[in-house]
């Protein structure tokens, strides 16, 4: 009576688990990446918004000059 099955079972489990862990890590990475990009995009978006408003206001001022 020996435990040949158990040993090979542990080996297989290790292979499967290393893939499991790797998948988890990839997912974790992607979620972090998503948050990171969302944050950065939102920051850039805010800046663009402000610039747009500023340009709009400047444009209005410029037009006030052109009218006369």
């Amino acid at each position: 009576m020996d435990n040949r099955t158990a040993v090979s079972n542990w080996g297989n489990a290790q292979s499967v688990d290393s893939l499991n862990i790797a998948i988890q890590k990839i997912i974790d990475f992607m979620n972090h990446f998503e948050n990171h990009t969302r944050f950065q995009l939102s920051t850039v978006g805010d800046r663009l918004n402000l610039l747009e408003q500023e340009v709009h206001s400047l444009e209005q001022k410029l037009n006030s000059l052109k009218r006369d």
Partner: protein
């Protein structure tokens, strides 16, 4: 999946691919992300992958079978059956919970619908058929489940008797889950009255249809059965008990159930459960087991059963009598026990509400909070320390040549053990916190409030309102929110640990099992082998074979080894290397144990060491199989392995241990009220969110404000993944849409209010604040505590129902709108008030600017100037008619100049008692919300108290405010408007009046001789001037015109004064651009000093004017000289051009600036040209001077002065000075000054003459009722004042010192230079291409700008620097 047992070359290739892939994964760790968002929520997961440890199929079970231990296979079979039943049952639970009757929506068939009857019934039948089918499925499920469960119970009981040892823990727990499910199904089925209603309608429709179709015997039978099934209560429990009674009664199952009760009590007492659901399942299963064991025959009642330790159970029941059944349904243990013979125990019959206080406190989060908080903080600190310690050690190991420190290779036990244990404890803590929250909620639902307990609760509040809305005090809500924040923070921390530490869990479990197998287990086996206990040896040997790993591919034959050991006993006795051999006998792996493997191990161990096992009972003349020490070793691993399944699916366990979704659900109460939805105010998540945002209660919790919203995420997750109910999700979504809008609205308002108050606290007068706070009790403090809004405002991707919400942006949009509104309100209030409102406007604008500044640090906001420009409607570059300046001008012209009296002594204007003009119609002031002004009612009162001090007059403070508000840029507009106004007055009022008065003047007016004395002279003048003095309009309209012109002069003078204070700063700031250098004692020879002076060799100018004339823009030059530098750095802004802009814009103001008053005088002088000859009188016959001539302007003013020096006859009457103020004199004298008649006036003035005459007299009498003494006093004052006024004029617009005007043609000041000429930088001062002309293109209309905006000094005027003139 990669499998190392694959053979052939493809296997090797595949392994390479896998290894490469894993290397890539390892490389991911080298990326670092910056997400600057404070963690205030459960981390958003765009992708989630649940790495499930087991799908419950136990496919590998046959591999671990042992022919001598069939019981394990049987139990596995039973467990699988029970689990399958539970799965199906749960889907029924979800179906029932989300079931809402459709009967209400089906139109009733009435008698007059005869024609449509058949069709209506058919449709009703069609609609209801699928629902009734589901009910039938449920009934069928009950029948089959009850039989299956009963059979398993009986079989297991027999097996237990024959083997003598209790069934495995897994089987007992599977039974507990089934019992729990039966209770839930019973509760739900009985609660849903809509099931009965729907079925009743279905039956009616069916019976009506039967008239047309053939009745089906089977179906009728089945319907009858369903009718009973739906109508009877506790059908599952009663059926099961009935079936058991048929199969031999409680006696046939009592051993297994006694084991179950013991096991459950063990777990609860040891607290080895994780989730709230685990705990409640066990408790309910215990109650249910008692019910099954009970019998109606009194001798077989549960109370008489020796195998049941009732005391122990009752103690546990009493500790947790309330728990959720499903969703918002609560189950009390008493109701469960009332069905058994325990109903005779007094505690069971107690009604809720009579519990002792300690139980109430145990359920109350408020009372358990301090302990939980301490535990929570301690845990986080420990986890944090351990994490960094872990990384440090891992690095050290990597450096020492061990396994490289990455996150895939196995971790040695030294590292994995503390990490594993701390994660496990975190999971347990999370479960405890969640359990506390859920149990309190169950308690609250079981103990509704009423109006006698909570005065806020209305009499007619319905059940759900009593249970939830009014059932929490403010402190309880605060504690609730804090608990939520702990649950979600811990959930976040643990969930984030899964990816980096998942392999630690695997490593630890593998290492623990191997250490056990090759250590304790091997030793126990050796000892057992010695005693030749064959049964135990087989069991333990098999246990070893099931779990032991080995470095040798063929494994280890433990039994052979043991016998080997026997042979080498002598050798080994002395050898200390045994331990070493064990260490090396197995490899380190990060690998998980399979479900069947674990089951087999635990079942084997349990059967060997369990105290109930036959071998462990001992007895007379009989050894126990194992010593207590050995049993302890096995027990330790057995207990530890209890958590392996939980830890192996760590992510899912974290989710399960923090599931608070129940808090949102209210199907039970909706069913009771027969309503579809309750208003949002009754929804617990919203109640808590609102509570946090309520400034009176819990603002300090603001960082937790997002956690209550997380409940919606949980609830939605349940609706989708468990209940699978579209409409529930839609309802959650609808509620979230509403709640989130309200949340953003409330949050923005709270933020705005808070920052407004902070600005108030900064801006309020410090001395006032100190004095106030010293004298007033503490609650009136003006200091504002800074609240941690910042971290909420920095949330840029808050995850709500799968949507990513940018809270930062949403709030900043609202705040921006609020700021606009506040500025708008400030301007509106200004427009509705007299000119002194300028102080409030200035304060409000400063206040808003400060608020904006404070907010800008945390939110992306557009610039305040832009907001102000927009509100002021001042976006036109050339028009200069913003609302503020327009209103200033409007008020000046229409209210201030005509109605105010100036006093030169105090330098203040006050409102005249009598108004000469119609009152002004102003718009009514808006009544805004307090936070739009100074943040709060309290601050508004304080500020308004300060403004009250300045409301009664208009003086220096106000002029300074006007200056700061408008700045010099607007002076030209004001000046222009005032000039226009003055010219109009002059042309249309003054000139006609003066002409009329001139006609009234006598031809000649010699001054009388001294001998006439004061009385004689007075009467002489009075008679001489009678036509003028009695001129009706003189004291009203004429004086009014003079006053308005005079007031204009004073206003401009005071504005000048205000601006001279502010001017030096502007000069300092613009100087570097203009090349102005302070005339220092030692100008540095190389020009090395100064930030911009490096390359400049402009000579130090003597005066600002001179320097501007140089036309050198210093900064611009420096920058232009280094053009390549600018170009190379990629600067977008062209500094050189910028420099020229600055120069062009400021040059005129600085160097060429002339005082407002000076410009006004010059302009008035020009207006005077048209009438100058008339007012100067005819050319004197002697070409020098007509001494007696009285047709010149100064004579008329003398007559006026004579009039207003005459004191009022009655004592109560007011003098002219009191009614018109000193503006009158300014107005009159300005023309004398401009006409160059000052000296003549001084010599020939009537009043002055009287003063001189009075100098020789001691006693002055009365003449014509006039007190001559007072007359002379008034005249003396007038003379002093006149001299002062002339000095002012001279300072602002000097005339040659000698008396001019020999003739009109020779007037040196015929054309006073006042028209500003503004030359743009010419070709001599800059290269023509870049010339900037600020008003290019507007010159057609640009008179005003040419005149006013850029007033330049022309040659010959030689104006001293304005400041010097004062």
């Amino acid at each position: 999946m990669a499998d190392s047992s694959l053979d052939g070359s493809s296997s090797a290739a595949q392994q390479n691919v896998v290894a490469d892939a894993l290397l890539n994964v390892k490389a991911l760790a080298s990326f670092s992300f910056s997400d600057d968002q404070p963690p205030l929520e459960f981390p958003s997961k765009a992708i989630s992958a649940e790495v499930s440890w087991s799908d419950g199929s136990r496919l590998d079970a046959p591999a671990f079978r042992h022919e001598k231990m069939q019981f394990m296979s049987e139990q596995l079979q039973q467990i699988a059956t029970l689990e399958e039943r539970t799965r199906v049952g749960e889907s029924f639970i979800h179906m029932l919970y989300a079931y809402r009757g459709v009967s209400g929506a089906i139109p009733q068939v009435r008698d007059h619908d005869e024609a449509n009857k058949a069709a209506l019934y058919a449709h009703t039948y069609q609609v209801l058929k699928p629902l009734v089918d589901k009910m039938k499925e449920l009934m069928a499920y009950m029948e089959s489940s009850v039989n299956t469960v009963c059979k398993i119970l009986v079989v297991a009981n027999e097996a237990r008797k024959s083997r003598g040892s209790p069934p495995s823990e897994e089987l007992l727990l599977a039974l507990a889950r089934v019992f729990n499910m039966f209770i839930s199904l019973d509760g739900l089925k009985d609660m849903k009255s809509s099931l009965n209603n729907d079925f009743a309608i279905y039956k009616r429709a069916l019976s009506n249809m039967k008239k047309q179709t053939n009745p089906n015997e089977d179906e009728t039978m089945e319907n009858q059965k369903l009718y009973n099934f739906l109508g009877n209560k506790d059908e599952f429990a009663r059926e099961l008990r009935k079936t058991i009674n048929l199969d031999g009664g409680p006696g046939a199952i009592e051993d297994v159930l006694a084991d179950l009760l013991d096991k459950a009590a063990d777990i609860i007492e040891r607290r080895t459960y994780i989730t709230a659901d685990n705990k409640h399942t066990l408790l309910k299963a215990m109650g249910f087991s008692l019910y099954l064991l009970d019998s109606d025959q009194s001798d077989k009642a549960i109370t008489k059963n020796k195998k049941v330790k009732l005391d122990r159970l009752m103690r546990l029941f009493k500790a947790t009598p309330y728990m959720p059944l499903t969703g918002d349904m609560t189950l009390s243990m008493q109701t469960l026990l009332l069905k058994t013979s325990l109903r005779e125990v007094s505690w069971v019959t107690e009604s809720p509400g009579n519990e002792d206080n300690s139980l109430r406190r145990a359920y109350s989060l408020l009372h358990t909070l301090p302990e939980a908080r301490a535990e929570f903080r301690e845990y986080l600190a420990e986890l944090g320390t351990l994490r960094s310690e872990f990384r440090r050690r891992q690095r050290l190991m990597g450096a020492a040549g061990g396994a490289p420190a990455d996150t895939l290779t196995p971790v040695p036990p030294l590292l994995s053990s503390p990490m594993y244990n701390v994660l496990l404890r975190g999971l347990q803590l999370l479960g405890r916190l969640t359990t506390a929250v859920i149990e309190q909620s169950a308690w609250k639902l079981a103990h509704p409030t009423d109006s006698s307990i909570n005065p806020d609760c209305p009499e007619n509040a319905h059940d759900y309102e009593k249970s939830v809305r009014y059932n929490y005090s403010s402190a309880e809500k605060t504690a609730f929110v804090e608990y939520l924040s702990m649950v979600y923070s811990l959930k976040r921390t643990l969930a984030q640990a899964e990816a980096p530490f998942g392999h630690v869990i695997y490593s630890y479990i593998h290492a623990t099992l191997q250490r056990f197998a090759h250590g304790s287990l091997a030793e126990v086996i050796a000892s057992v082998a010695k005693k030749s206990k064959q049964n135990v040896l087989v069991a333990l040997g098999h246990a070893f074979n099931v779990i032991a790993d080995s470095t040798a591919a063929e494994g280890t034959d433990i039994v052979a080894q043991v016998s080997d050991k026997k042979a080498k006993k002598a050798k080994k006795a002395s050898g200390s290397g045994a331990g070493m051999a064990i260490e090396q006998a197995y490899p380190e792996r990060a690998a998980s144990v399979s479900q069947a493997q674990l089951f087999t191990l635990r079942a084997l161990l349990d059967s060997v060491y369990n105290e109930k096992a036959p071998g462990m009972r001992g007895g007379f003349m009989k050894d126990k199989d194992l010593s207590s020490e050995q049993a302890g070793l096995l027990d330790a691993v057995f207990q530890e392995a209890h958590f392996f399944p939980v830890m192996l699916s760590f992510g899912a366990s974290v989710e399960a241990a923090s599931d608070l979704s129940e808090l949102w659900y209210k199907e039970f109460y909706l069913g009771l009220r027969k309503e579809i939805q309750f208003p949002i105010e009754m929804s617990l998540p919203w109640i808590l969110t609102e509570h946090v945002l309520n400034p009176d209660d819990a603002h300090a919790l603001i960082e937790s404000v997002l956690y209550p919203l997380e409940l919606y995420n949980d609830a939605a997750g349940r609706a989708i993944h468990k209940l699978r109910s579209r409409f529930l999700f839609d309802e959650i979504q609808a509620e979230v849409n509403l709640a989130f809008d309200q949340f953003i609205f409330a949050l923005s308002n709270a933020v705005f209010e808070h920052y407004k108050q902070r600005a108030s606290s900064v801006l309020i007068n410090k001395e006032y604040k100190l004095l106030f706070e010293e004298n007033i009790s503490s609650d009136g403090r003006l200091e504002v505590t800074v609240l941690p809004f910042e971290s909420v405002l920095r949330q840029r991707h808050f995850q709500l129902l799968g949507r990513s919400v940018d809270i930062s942006r949403l709030v900043s949009q609202r705040i921006s709108a609020n700021l606009r509104q506040a500025v708008e309100v400030a301007i509106q209030r200004f427009e509705a008030a007299p000119l002194h409102g300028v102080l409030e406007l200035k304060a409000l604008l400063e206040h808003n600017r400060m608020t904006h500044e404070l907010l800008s640090a945390v939110l992306p906001l557009e610039s305040f100037d832009m907001i102000l420009e927009e509100a002021d409607e001042e976006t036109n570059l050339v028009a200069f008619h913003g609302r503020i300046v327009s209103h200033v001008v409007y008020e000046l012209v229409n209210d201030f100049l005509p109605n105010y009296c100036y006093n030169i002594m105090s330098g203040r204007f006050v409102l005249a008692r009598l108004s000469m003009i119609d009152p002004l119609n102003r718009p009514s002031a808006p009544r805004p919300l307090p936070h739009l002004l100074f943040g709060s009612r309290i601050f508004n009162n304080h500020f308004s108290r300060m403004f009250d001090l300045y409301r009664e007059y208009f003086g220096e403070v106000h002029f300074n405010a006007l200056y700061t508000l408008l700045g010099r840029a607007y002076f030209p507009v004001i000046l222009g408007e005032l000039v226009n106004n003055a010219r109009t007055l002059f042309e249309h009022s003054l000139r006609p009046f003066v002409s009329a008065l001139m006609r009234g003047m006598p031809q000649s007016s010699k001054l009388p001789a001294f001998v006439y004395g004061v009385t004689g002279s007075y009467e002489y003048f009075f008679e001489l001037l009678r036509p003028v003095i009695t001129y009706g309009a003189l004291r009203t309209e004429v004086f009014q015109v003079f006053r308005e012109i005079g007031n204009t002069i004073i206003v401009l003078q005071l504005l000048d004064r205000a601006s001279f204070v502010g001017q030096p700063l502007a000069t300092m700031l613009t100087a570097p651009f203009l090349g102005i250098r302070a005339p220092g004692p030692k100008p540095s020879p190389a020009g090395a000093a100064g930030p911009a002076g490096g390359a400049v060799d402009a000579p130090p100018p003597e005066s600002p004017t001179g320097s501007v004339a140089d036309g050198r823009y210093v900064v611009a030059d420096v920058l232009a000289a280094n053009g390549e530098l600018l170009a190379s750095s990629g600067t977008v802004v062209d500094f050189a051009t910028l420099g020229r802009h600055v120069e062009a814009l400021t040059k005129a103001q600085l160097g060429g600036g002339r005082s407002l008053l000076g410009s006004f005088l010059a302009s008035l002088s020009e207006a005077l040209d048209s009438t100058r000859s008339e007012w100067l009188g005819a050319t004197p016959s002697n070409d020098v001077l007509e001494v007696d001539m009285s047709k010149e302007y100064y004579r008329i003013w003398s007559a006026c002065q004579f009039t207003f020096c005459t004191p009022p006859i009655t004592a109560s009457g007011s003098t002219t000075r009191e009614s018109f103020g000193e503006g009158l004199q300014f107005g009159g004298l300005v023309f004398i000054y401009l006409l160059g008649q000052q000296h003549r006036f001084d010599v020939f003035d009537f009043s002055y003459h009287l003063i001189q005459v009075a100098g020789n007299e001691t006693q002055l009498g009365r003449a014509g009722g006039v007190d001559l003494g007072r007359f002379v006093d008034l005249a003396r004052f007038c003379r002093l004042l006149n001299d002062e006024i002339f000095r002012v004029f001279r300072a602002h617009m000097p005339l040659p010192a000698f008396e001019p005007a020999l003739s009109i043609g020779q007037l040196p000041l015929k054309k006073p230079a006042f028209v500003g000429r503004f030359s743009p930088p010419g070709p001599d001062s800059a290269d023509g291409s870049g010339t900037y002309h600020p008003f290019a293109g507007v010159h057609g209309d640009g008179e005003r700008i040419g005149n006013l905006k850029a007033i330049a000094v022309t040659e010959g005027a030689g104006a001293p620097a304005p400041a010097a003139s004062e």
